[in-house]
């Protein structure tokens, strides 16, 4: 599979973009020319210069430095949230459909109840209740999204548990737990990896969207969505304040989407 990934131009392009963003996030302190939160009222809305490569915003903060630090927030929120979602969905999404019968019915009923609330609504009310803060937005996103991931896991488990090798494993003396961990999960993992990696792009957009709405991330934090939000007041006078963070969001989301969809193209022919 790894060989095929490196053969696919799309996957390599996506991977390259992801690596660039990860690199920027890790080495932000060295790459950024200025402190991202340093306010300089004397130099509001300056154009590009050597000191400020992309100019300054309405408070005289270096836009370029803020964009670079923004990668930390986007990845730093999206990736852990996705990992937590992956673990939760693998725990909750495998056992009920494997056991079938009433367990599965109960799971479907509960997940349908959760799915009937749009994620935005859940996040809005949870952030309202928990208060602002990066950890709270992460909790809210996990709480609103787990059911969608678990449902996807369930559908793969349903396909897999009818396979002959599951019965063969049972005959060979495997316990149910062993069948789930040794046989079902390894076989559905490639398909799930695809789903999770395309999910990251959605997660980044979602986080940016929430911070654009002013949810979770407090003002002044150099998050791309928050930058968009504060820039929108200057749409006509200084449109670049919106263009830069917009481009960064687009760039990152494109990277994960390209990579995820290339992975899907690589894996799905084997599945069918």
């Amino acid at each position: 599979m790894l060989k095929k990934v490196f053969k696919s131009k799309q996957a390599v392009a996506g991977l390259l973009i992801i690596l660039i963003v990860v690199f920027i996030a890790i080495f932000a302190p060295w790459l950024a020319p200025n402190q991202p939160e340093e306010i300089n009222p004397a130099k509001k809305f300056t154009g590009a210069s050597l000191e400020y490569p992309l100019g300054t915003d309405q408070l005289g903060r270096c836009i370029f430095s803020r964009l670079i630090y923004g990668a930390r927030y986007s990845l730093g929120i999206a990736v852990p949230v996705l990992l937590v979602l992956a673990v939760i969905s693998l725990l909750i999404g495998t056992i009920p459909p494997y056991l079938g019968g009433r367990f599965d019915q109960l799971f479907v009923v509960v997940s349908d109840i959760f799915m009937s609330f749009p994620p935005l609504l859940v996040v809005l009310s949870l952030v309202g209740a928990l208060g602002q803060g990066i950890l709270n937005i992460m909790i809210a996103v996990v709480f609103s999204m787990w059911v969608w991931f678990a449902k996807v896991v369930r559908s793969y488990v349903l396909l897999e548990r009818k396979q002959g090798y599951i019965m063969a494993a049972k005959i060979a003396g495997c316990s149910d737990l062993k069948i789930i961990t040794r046989h079902i999960i390894p076989n559905i993992l490639p398909a799930l990896l695809v789903y999770f990696s395309t999910g990251i792009a959605g997660m980044i957009l979602m986080i940016s969207g929430f911070s654009f709405l002013g949810l979770g991330i407090t003002a002044g934090v150099p998050e791309w969505g928050a930058m968009l939000s504060s820039g929108k007041a200057y749409l006509y006078s200084h449109p670049l304040l919106l263009v830069y963070p917009g481009l960064f969001i687009l760039f990152t989301a494109t990277g994960f989407n390209l990579f995820g969809e290339a992975l899907r193209d690589i894996i799905s022919p084997e599945e069918v």
Binding site: I171, C174, K178
Partner: protein, 265 residues
């Protein structure tokens, strides 16, 4: 000794109008399988053979009736006891490819029952797996491969190795050779006969092919519509079958030469 008494399995289905209908897949079946003997179960498609096989392995629970292995009732066992009891009765399924986990190497597939039923060291495990693979006449190199890299006959041999790995008292072969071409089928059947003589396990061959049934065992059970219609021990020729359905089965065998055809072309 494996004894089956008044075994029945019903499924409820809904017909086009949504009414419940009961399908009797296995209907009041009783028989006894002695140790160190071979049996063949013959029946047409849909006669309930595979359901019966799954019931014997207790993968599905019967609607009524009982299955006893050495006087122990399977229905009264806990999940764990039942799992350990599977060391006594194993099954080889029809489709070799789908009964092997596509992500596991052949070595791990064969070692799986050993790891589950016996507590043996890695070294001993390796020795046994290698002995098994040569018993089913496959090269050792196969052990590092994945199931899809093997041919149908090789996959079948791997599933056989898996079933015999823990020396079970009974092995059920559910259509074990259908889907293989004639020469491969003959080789596999001969291999099975040889393995049976070496191990002393009791084999139950489930097949739709009366030829295969006669080749593999002297004790024949004939199944139709979920019922055992005829049961013969130690038969030596096709003329011993008495039941009408058995005679239909025999008459349906393809003629040996074109001259024996009933319908002329």
């Amino acid at each position: 000794m494996l004894s089956v008494k008044n075994l029945a399995k019903q499924y409820t289905c809904r017909d086009k109008k949504g009414r419940k209908t009961i399908v009797k897949a296995v209907d009041d079946v009783s028989f006894i399988l002695e140790e160190k003997k071979s049996y063949s179960l013959v029946g047409e498609s849909g006669s309930g053979k595979s359901t019966l096989a799954r019931l014997l392995l207790y993968i599905e629970k019967p609607t009524s009736g009982q299955i006893k292995i050495d006087q122990l009732d399977l229905a009264k066992m806990s999940t764990r006891e039942l799992r350990n009891k599977r060391a006594d009765i194993q099954m080889v399924m029809q489709d070799g490819q789908s009964s092997l986990d596509p992500s596991l190497k052949i070595y791990d597939s064969i070692a799986e029952p050993l790891r589950n039923f016996l507590k043996i060291s890695k070294k001993e495990e390796k020795r046994r797996v290698e002995a098994l693979i040569s018993k089913v006449e496959l090269p050792l190199a196969v052990l590092d491969r994945l199931p899809h890299q093997l041919s149908g006959g090789q996959q079948k041999r791997v599933t056989i190795a898996r079933a015999i790995s823990i020396n079970p008292k009974f092995i059920v072969f559910d259509e074990a050779v259908s889907g293989l071409d004639v020469t491969v089928r003959k080789k596999i059947l001969d291999l099975l006969l040889r393995l049976r003589d070496e191990s002393g396990s009791s084999y139950l061959f489930i097949t739709h092919d009366i030829d295969v049934a006669m080749y593999m065992a002297r004790n024949i059970l004939i199944m139709k519509d979920g019922k055992i219609v005829e049961q013969l021990e130690n038969i030596s020729s096709l003329t011993e079958f008495k039941h009408d359905y058995s005679k239909v089965l025999i008459r349906s065998l393809p003629p040996r030469t074109p001259g024996h055809r009933q319908v002329k072309i």
